[in-house]
Symmetry: none
Subunit: 238 residues, 2 copies
DNA sequence: ATTGCTATGTATAACAA
DNA sequence: TTTGTTATACATAGCAA
């Protein structure tokens, strides 16, 4: 069972490496042939086994292979290297991937935090001293939540043909009301000229870690709402 | 959703074919590079797009590609680019940096989620069905919180020489009690033989994204608690 | 080493935005 | 068209015979 994720590195164990090589070579050849067939393009793969001086080649008929190779070699190097997928390309791809993940997570984080904020307020904890931008985001979250609730009600009414009276008791409507109230509250807050926000720089010393970064698209920026850019979740308690 | 078995034949539809070509080419390149890395063999792939006269090629530098091709044609070897190493090094460094951030954030996330969990339980919401490992983590968070509270009390007593009676009313002691209660509750839970945790494989379909990877220290793993690996935050509400 | 098996990791087809 | 998402098909690591 393929239980591990397989470290992308030279496999030291001899027999394991050979086994992997065999399996993967086969798979690779299949892929090349598939690509060639499905998309009707010329393709070629050459693989040298560690010991065998005889490489495995696709396509099988060397005439075809030679055709591809010749075509390749007959073109100036400058042009050749343009589209080459090299280690560098793969690495860049890797970075992008991680960075993408990071951003994705940050988005999810923010949403989670906002949801928490919403429920806290619903619980009567009061809304922390957040900026207008945050309030707008909150609004979006609430809207989304409302929509979800409405859909839930719809499905209850429609799919199972439940009499509307029976929906009482599911708690859905109460929740909806609460959210609705919250929404109005939000609007009220937003329509009030927001006071100047101080940045009590040194009152947050006991907060956990604080990252810098601004959520822009800089190389390695971090967009978590935790930063020093406004008042945030850590203010809720403690 | 890959619902079809994909007939192994030329894809007539133009845009579909292009899309497939793009995806599969990328996958193929990755495979080639993996094979080369894992088994330490020389390999090369050349793919001509149906329109672009420029082929996509692996491996990296044209010199490397040529080396393979040349070997295939029994020709002298070409030299290796050295600039590559530097570039590669820098890129790897970049990946490390981003990955580190990712991990840091993940830790932070987890802590935040745990804190929320703690307060939710304090609010009498009840503890969700989490595993023992999570409970242990919760314990740590609570401990840390207790410590912070105690320190706060100390500073109040010491620094400003406030009579202990006046500390009542700051809410600190009440909170401390609550946390203490919580702690005991935790211990009670922990001492109860934890029920077998099912992994309702197909009951979480509405969870957000699930990444591959297992949170180990693999190349591009993702260790967020959000995944499919247990019961988590999304279960708290709605 | 080879073959066969199966639990997992990955690739990607069909959609959706 | 590109990008993102999800359900499936597919590839293959680790084992055992």
């Amino acid at each position: 069972m393929a239980r591990k994720k397989v470290k992308l590195a030279w496999i030291a164990n001899d027999s394991a490496r050979r086994a992997t090589f065999k399996k993967r070579k086969k798979g690779l050849m299949k892929k090349v042939s598939e690509l060639s067939t499905l998309c009707g393009v010329e393709a070629c793969a050459i693989i040298y086994g560690s010991e065998d001086p005889q490489p495995d080649v696709w396509p099988s008929t060397s005439s075809e292979a030679h055709r591809v190779l010749t075509r390749f070699k007959s073109m100036p190097e400058m042009e050749q290297s343009k589209k080459m997928m090299n280690q560098e390309g793969l690495l860049r791809q890797g970075i992008s991937k991680v960075k993408e993940q990071l951003k994705k997570q940050q988005r999810e984080n923010r949403k989670f935090v906002l949801t928490q904020l919403m429920y806290q307020t619903l619980d009567g904890k009061g809304l922390p001293d957040v900026g207008t931008e945050v309030l707008h985001e909150l609004e979006d979250v609430i809207e989304e939540k409302m929509k979800a609730i409405e859909e839930r009600i719809e499905s209850l009414r429609g799919a199972t043909s439940v009499p509307s009276q029976l929906i009482n008791g599911t708690g859905v409507e109460m929740e909806m009301e609460a959210v609705q109230r919250q929404k109005w509250f939000m609007e009220a807050v937003l329509n009030n000229p927001p006071q100047e926000q101080h940045h009590h720089q040194h009152q947050h010393q006991h907060q956990p870690t604080v990252y810098y970064g601004n959520g822009g698209d800089d190389q390695f920026a971090n967009g978590m709402p935790y930063g020093d850019h406004g008042s945030w979740p850590n203010h809720f308690y403690t």
